[in-house]
């Protein structure tokens, strides 16, 4: 069946397509020279403090609900699974419904494994959205604001009642072609949500839950 054959072809082809389709943010990209320590000089003290608190929070596996909003969809697409952090820098996002998929985010690559087919590797340099997700998660899990600030302009909004929102806008124009902004939201010292806003108007919300999601 042709469609089946093409479905089988799609997975291994993604790296090819991905490499060919994505803009490369790296032309003239800044080298990763920001020190891998805490907040850079000049950062807002509250921002720095927030990340320090986030970094100290425990990093046990958490269930997630991912909602994708797109102009192509009638209603947001929802998937669920478990998100795991493996120090120092690796995340594993194991989607359980509706399509089983395992995404591993390393320092420089993302590996996708779907069903029984072979894993495909994507270079994070070539995938600004995935790179943003990885950086945001990593920053929150390890409290490393500096790495986040190396690639994004970061701003903190909080309502004073414990709920806060961190907005990160990409510095690199190549990444900015695809990525509008990255949002981290939470309460106190717990990260509750990461949202990737794309230039196309689509957005992907990753809610980290330990109980039923708030609607």
């Amino acid at each position: 069946m042709r469609a089946g054959r093409r479905a089988a072809l799609a997975a291994p082809l993604l790296p090819v397509a991905a490499a060919l389709l994505a803009g490369h943010p790296a032309r003239g990209a800044r080298a990763q020279t920001a020190p891998a320590t805490g907040a850079a000089a000049g950062a807002e003290p509250r921002l720095a403090e927030l990340f320090t608190r986030l970094g100290r929070a425990s990093t046990r596996p958490r269930r997630f609900v991912e909602r994708r909003h797109s102009a192509l969809f009638v209603a947001p697409e929802e998937s669920r699974g478990v998100l795991r952090f493996e120090p120092p820098a690796t995340f594993e996002k194991r989607t359980e419904t509706p399509t089983a998929e395992v995404l591993r985010l390393d320092e420089r690559t993302a590996t996708v494994r779907r069903g029984g087919s072979a894993p495909t590797s994507l270079a994070l340099d070539a995938h600004p959205s995935l790179a943003a997700l990885a950086r945001g998660l990593r920053a929150a899990a390890s409290g490393d604001l500096g790495t986040l600030e190396a690639a994004f302009e970061v701003r903190l909004e909080d309502d004073g009642g414990g709920r806060w929102r961190v907005l990160a806008v990409p510095r690199d124009p190549g990444a900015a072609r695809f990525l509008a902004r990255l949002e981290l939201g939470g309460t106190g010292d717990r990260l509750e949500r990461i949202t990737v806003h794309e230039r196309s108007g689509d957005r992907s919300e990753l809610w980290l839950i330990d109980e039923a999601p708030r609607r």
Binding site: R2, V112, L130
Partner: protein
């Protein structure tokens, strides 16, 4: 000189001046080429001819592979003593990453500089812009290219399945990527096209540049404007490339660990070969001149003889070059290098004229006839080169024949006027020793014959094949260069150059249609792991018939809209969002079929230009390249078997070319032909000698000397080189031509002792000068010249030795007087010499 003598001799000198002037004029108008393909056998079939032309002039010949390679020692230079293992590893990784980024940035700068340079037509790098251009061209024609685009794909069921797959993709990790093309290409036809391009190994791209798998070198591909055979223009382009690379790397932080620039490609090879050949031409000639001048000065103790020798040598060389220029219009650099040998040969005639003179200054009887015979036999040897079928060797043949004839004529008609009135005294001691030593007894002759027989037996009974027909043996490129070329080609995913599957048609359409027809066979070869992948222009440029067929399967906009609405009803995808898809399909349905022009300005376009070739007789050839051949020696047969059935009645138009095997086959053919020519040449030389010498014993002796020389030389060369090539064979014929001169002078020897001594001395000197000239040639960096040089040098040495041992007086027997003279200083009874 008296007035009468002047009047007699003046016409000759005027004629000489006129010839020299004409030759100078011709040579000044003749350009020098260094195209090494002149020494390769020409293609045999028309398809091969077209492809060979493409290799010479076409896109493939203009490609330069560029690598910026980090020096081996660079990389994370942490001091292990002051860090923990873990921290050190992280530091190392970070340092490596920053090195990679810097390298990629330098490669990008270099690519930008090359794009702006008018000497370069196109630059391929791992930059996103290149990818985007390639992909845009493929995507724009996706419904004409996608083999999966048939009527079934556009039914509600087909669309439903495709959109379900899209939905899964959009939900998945690479969702944002797919999102960017989803509205226009929801069935992911572009991915289908990429699948068909399949085993196309693209190099890994990091930070916007191509890298080798180990990440230590950034790669670029540049195409020059100048064609491959224009070595001057290629050299200019290469120099500019180096300058751009210097500038691109100028800002490298660590001056000690600066990346190195490596270049390979046909143009680069041509430049390297040209440098080597040009260096040779001047170096070899100067060296040969110097050595021979010293030899003559020492042996003959006269500086005047040098001046005399210079006349035939210079005239011969000039006339030789002029004849080549007149016949071919160009002079090959290798011919210039070969000119050094002419010095060794032409000086012989001056030596004979100088040494073999009576005391009163007149020439010995028969010396001119001897020289004429020497010229004739040498020409017979060089004639084999004319008939060899290689353009380059034919040039050497014409050059040498014209040169030695001119030198001989000079020596005969002009030198006597310049000789001093009285013969200069010859080194007597040497002459006496030679006389005494020559004509050795039975023992030494037998020794030589036995050694020759042993050599012949060795050659005949060797377990390995004596002959090496591999062209790699005659390429003047260093092994390191060709090995690096192989590595870069593999890293860039470029196909091997050895195998080409060619389909031929009366038009491009026909050739492409035939290529499509055999495509299932190619896929079968991939599935059977006979090859890793293939690249056919028909994949990105289908025949018009195929394109129209696919267009016919595309639905019109209103139909598609309705089908779409039905397929998506009740699902989560909004049909309105895919209006761009509907419009794209409609456009593709009515657009004109694409041609090669569709890919102008993209990397795919360059590949098509190299692989879709218009043949001169208004046909076209599609050249399909393969990569990763599992069993090279049997591939041609296996592939031909699989593809013949598919081609059906057009099987004759499909050819699987194994360029390496084809060339070796050709070389073997030439070699057989050369063997026949050599045998005929040897027979001609012996016949010439027989005519002159008229004494069967003497002829038999000479033939023996020649046979022994050939056997011993061939055995020596086989021991040295392990294999003999076609050029060794031709050089053996040269050996016979040259050694026959010496043998002929030595047998029969004249009776008078002084004359004998003079002849032996002249033979020794001529042999020594020829030996020196060819030993110098053996140092050439062009293997062709080195092979010829070493063979002739060894042959001359053995030949002079054998001639001396077999030297005999006119009776054809060793001169008993000589032997007796050795035993008793005063004459001895019991032996008499008889004149012939």
């Amino acid at each position: 000189m008296t007035t009468g003598a002047l009047r007699r001799t003046a016409p000759r000198w005027i004629l000489w001046l006129a010839c020299v002037a004409a030759a100078l004029f011709q040579v000044s108008r003749t350009p020098v080429l260094t195209d090494i393909t002149a020494f390769l056998p020409g293609p045999s079939t028309p398809t091969q001819r077209v492809l060979a032309e493409q290799l010479r002039d076409g896109v493939a010949s203009r490609v330069v592979l560029v690598a910026l390679e980090l020096p081996a020692a660079s990389g994370a230079a942490t001091d292990p003593a002051t860090r923990t293992a873990e921290a050190g590893a992280a530091e190392a990784a970070a340092a490596d990453a920053s090195l990679e980024r810097a390298l990629a940035a330098a490669a990008t700068r270099l690519a930008a500089a090359l794009r702006d340079d008018p000497d370069f037509a196109w630059v391929g790098d791992g930059s996103p812009r290149s990818f985007e251009r390639d992909l845009a061209a493929l995507s724009a024609a996706r419904y004409l290219l996608d083999p999966g685009a048939d009527a079934a794909a556009f039914t509600p069921e087909g669309l439903s399945a495709a959109f379900e797959r899209l939905r899964v993709e959009l939900r998945g990790a690479a969702g944002p990527l797919v999102r960017s093309i989803a509205a226009e290409d929801p069935t992911l036809a572009t991915l289908g096209v990429l699948a068909a391009l399949g085993g196309d190994a693209t190099p890994a791209s990091r930070h916007g540049a191509w890298f080798t798998p180990d990440g230590r070198a950034a790669l670029l591909v540049a195409e020059t404007v100048a064609p491959g055979f224009d070595v001057d223009a290629q050299q200019r382009a290469i120099d500019r490339l180096r300058a751009h690379a210097e500038r691109a790397l100028a800002a490298w932080p660590d001056a000690h660990a600066r990346p190195r620039l490596h270049l390979t490609g046909p143009g680069v090879f041509g430049a390297i070969a040209r440098d080597a050949i040009e260096r040779d031409a001047t170096r070899l000639s100067a060296l040969a001149l110097a050595l021979i001048a010293v030899l003559l000065a020492l042996a003959l103790r006269s500086v005047r003889v040098l001046g005399l020798a210079a006349l035939p040598v210079a005239t011969g060389a000039l006339v030789g070059f002029a004849c080549v220029g007149a016949v071919w219009g160009t002079l090959h650099g290798v011919t210039l290098g070969f000119g050094a040998t002419l010095i060794g040969e032409a000086v012989d005639y001056a030596i004979y004229a100088w040494v073999q003179r009576r005391d009163d200054g007149s020439a010995s009887p028969g010396v001119w006839r001897g020289i004429a015979l020497a010229i004739a036999t040498s020409c017979a040897g060089y004639a084999a080169m004319l008939l060899s079928g290689f353009a380059g060797l034919a040039q050497l043949g014409v050059f040498s024949i014209a040169g030695i004839v001119a030198a001989g004529l000079c020596a005969r008609w002009l030198l006597p006027d310049l000789m001093p009135a009285r013969a200069a005294p010859l080194p007597e001691a040497l002459g006496r020793r030679l006389s005494a030593w020559s004509g050795g007894g039975r023992a030494s002759r037998a020794a030589i014959v036995i050694a020759a027989a042993a050599a012949a037996a060795y050659l005949a009974l060797r377990p390995a094949s004596t002959w090496n027909d591999d062209l790699a043996a005659i390429t003047p490129l260093p092994a390191a260069v060709t090995e690096r070329d192989g590595r870069l080609r593999a890293a860039l995913g470029l196909p091997e150059v050895r195998f080409v599957i060619a389909t031929r048609g009366a038009s491009r359409e026909e050739a492409l249609a035939l290529a499509e027809r055999i495509e299932p066979g190619l896929r079968a070869l991939v599935d059977a792991h006979a090859i890793a992948g293939y690249r056919s222009p028909a994949t990105v440029l289908p025949s018009v018939a195929t394109q129209r067929r696919r267009q016919a399967a595309l639905p019109a906009a209103p139909v598609l809209r309705e089908t779409l609405a039905r397929a998506l009803a009740g699902g989560n995808l909004r049909a309105e969002a895919f209006e761009p898809f509907v419009e794209a399909v409609d456009r593709a349905r009515t657009a004109p079929p694409i041609t090669a022009a569709h890919y102008d300005g993209t990397g795919i376009g360059r590949r098509i230009a190299a692989q879709l070739v218009d043949a001169p007789d208004s046909g076209a050839i599609v050249a399909i390249t393969v990569a990763g051949v599992a069993d090279p020696d049997r591939f041609a047969a296996v592939a031909a078997a699989r593809l013949a059935g598919l081609a059906g009645e057009r099987a004759a138009q499909v050819a699987v070319l194994d360029l390496k095997a084809d060339v070796e086959h050709l070389v073997a053919e030439y070699r057989t032909r050369a063997l026949h020519v050599a045998l005929a040449g040897w027979a001609a030389i012996v016949a010439l000698l027989a005519l002159r010498v008229r004494e069967r014993r003497a002829v038999a002796t000479i033939a023996t000397v020649l046979a022994c020389t050939v056997a011993l030389t061939a055995a020596a060369m086989t021991l040295l080189y392990n294999h003999l090539t076609l050029f060794h064979l031709l050089a053996l014929l040269l050996v016979v031509g040259v050694v026959s001169n010496y043998a002929m002078f030595c047998t029969p020897l004249p009776q008078a002792a002084a004359d004998r001594a003079a002849i032996l001395l002249s033979v020794l000197l001529c042999g020594a000068s020829t030996f020196l000239a060819f030993v110098v040639l053996a140092r050439s960096s062009a293997p062709v010249l080195a092979m010829i040089g070493s063979t002739v040098a060894v042959g001359v040495a053995v030949g002079v030795l054998a001639s001396g041992v077999f030297a005999a007086t006119a009776t054809g027997r060793p001169d008993p007087g000589l032997a007796a003279a050795r035993q008793a200083p005063t004459g001895s009874p019991g032996s008499r010499t008889r004149s012939a």
